[in-house]
Amino acid sequence: MSIEQWNTTITPTWCPGCGNHSLWNELKRALDELKIPAHKILIVYGIGCSGNMYNFVKTYGWHSLHGRAVPTAVGAKLANKDLTVIVVGGDGDGLGEGMGHFIHALRGNANITYLLHNNKIYGLTTGQSSPTSEKGFISRSTPAGQIEIPVKPLKLALAAGGGFVARGYAGKPNDLKELIKKGIQHRGFSFIDILQPCVTFNKVNTYEFYNSRVYDLAANGYEPTDYNQAMLKADEWGDKIPLGLFYHDSREPYEDDLPQEQGQAIVARPVVKRNLTKLVKEFM
């Protein structure tokens, strides 16, 4: 297949130069290289610029409510474990409104992949500070500078039991594609924080900003199996910003611990009336 076959009839509406273009392409390339049939994929989108990708990828989709993409994806996966379930959402969506769901989904470890488009700003609502904006960040909602310190998504993911914790960058498309592939192949909840410049509203975290700071963890012989080391690396932000797979383990996915999930997927079984004979006896 070619990646064009994953396109819909709608042309992306993102700003020229927006990191979402790269994410869109690398997601399609990853799916193409993994050779997953499009009808076996469900992508659940959040609300925001990233969520608008909803209109541009030809797989089954669900454009959720703002902040609620992750639980929706978990529900879908538990109903049909044969689907490849991916969440596409932004930092405002997933770490603002959806923060609670994010932490609990990590605990649960359902076998889904979460691509967090992290542009450190609210783009679709035209430029307000987000949960990942830096302290002092000046935006239309924080004209005197953001007071809070930023959320560190990777540290949170590690603390909550994430078994696949990674960071990609829209400016390193090939590496990003490989990370997405690995994330999809991981059995359990895979989380990829993706740095994505917003060329229109975020004048701080630009391509130039990232290009001079990012480095590949794997290039220095980093092993993603040491939890404490991963925590230290997840804290690293400033002159140097690490990219790649921070941590990886093989904790069993949520579905594996449910006896009723063994065998056929729940929705693959015919919907039939249950035999009441035994059930009603308990009430007689």
Partner: protein, 587 residues
Amino acid sequence: MNRDEKMRFTWKIGGEAGFGIKAAGQVFAKAMVRAGYEAFDYSEYPSLIRGGHNTYQITVGEINARSAASTVDLLVALNKETIDLHLAELSEGAGIIYDGEEIKLPPDKYKSRKAALISVPLKKLASLTGGDIMRNTVAIGASLAVIGLEPKILENIIKEIFAHKPEVIENNDKAIEAGYEFVKKNYPDIDFKIKLKPRKHQPRMLIAGNEAMSLGALAGGLQFFSAYPMTPSSSILLYLAGKAASEGLVVKHAEDEISVINMALGAAHAGARSMCATSGGGFALMGEAVGLAGISETPIVIINVQRPGPATGMPTWTDQGDLRFVLHAAQGEFPRIVLAPGDASECFYQTAEALNLAEKYQLPVIMLSDKYLGEGAATVPVFEEKKVRIDRGKLLTDEKSLVNYKRYKVVADGISPRTLPGTKGGIFSADSYEHDESGFSSESAEDRIAQVDKRARKLEHVAASLGGANHYGPAHAKTTIVSWGSTKGPILDALELLPPRLKGKVNFLHLNVIWPFPAKLVKAALAPTSLLGKAKKLILIENNSTGQLGALIRQETGVEIREKILKYDGRPFFPEELTEKISKSIK
């Protein structure tokens, strides 16, 4: 008691939380059902784990025990507070079983009520059969002796209840025997006003609304259920969680109600028959996603077991204050179905059918119950699987039927055929934005109007087929009582207690479908009785403070019901109080 009247008898046990009040009540209730009687149980408890006053009462009848009585015939007092608090409820000639070695009662005070004081050393007898915790069980044995039933009626019940703890069966049997023998020996001449004999009867169930809804959902092929614990809805989660593995469905206790409904919607989108349950506060959190089900046309059943609000309100008490709320929950306009079963049977059959309605019309179906109905067990005919059907509506699973497929195609009846992720040739996305026929986000005026109208048309087709306004009592009557949901039982029982002058002159219109509103049926039922157009007397009965159904009836039919009997103190209606109020209002 006049022997000609139908026997109605109420047993009540009270004590501190942690005394095993509910467990004892359930054993006694089961005993009544096995003895061939109808029973309705009702418990009152505070929102506490230990301490605080708990009661459990069972109203027993030869036929038609459909509500809790306000008077008590045999009171089991595990502490003195129980006697002080419930003295006023005692009927003439009632009995009090209490521990005379622990509680000192001045006999005169109770004699004036003609109450029979039956002192049983509950604590002492319990200590011989397993300790303090057995006091409730000793009291059950004593109760049986007072009403003339043999302890052997409990034999199998104890075995079944403690099947997982066989070591305590013997102690329970001993405790029952001890209580029974003590009364037989020490009160040989007791002539209590109620003497029960085992009756022949058809097999029946004793089941609360929450469990009945759970069973209905299981019968209806439920595949995914999510919830967050919230009184008084939690027993739905607990029951289904216990059956999940054996019945092959996923039950997810999620982190909050927002997650609950979004998970259920994700599962429904993937193709599972999906349901969630909560009470008013949780339903408030679900609000936005109720609208998401509406615009994405995703089938889902949402149960709201009401309690008095607003906010935390009175968690363990009953109320019908959410009718208007669920009718309008979520921003924007979209079709929904609201059902309000009136008893455990309706809970079962309407929930099974709700799963069909959700899939057939591709919309949210909201079921309104409340603490009284959800947690009060009643005897009902055994649920019949053959009366349940499965209808998944327009569901396309064959690739050949999916040529040029458009998920939100504008069709005459508004119901566009659905397909499921995983189906080849059916790729589409469900959208929380307004969308075009294919499901792509659209802000065009044409698409907006076409989709709003398409969704609205679905409801036009539902209204004609759902019914939901049911008559009870004489076909023609000068007075018609109008109500909905859980008040059905108390009203039906109240009608039987009406004085002779009113017998056969009052009927009852009960609504168990709230939306789409059964306007034609209601209008016909409330119309004048004769061609002369003499207006009927209409009385509205609701467990809320504003008469929400009354306002809805006026909105949908133009009929205003001026006379209202409303109750909003957290307590249910008792038939005796309804009979009195209805009688008073009919001159």
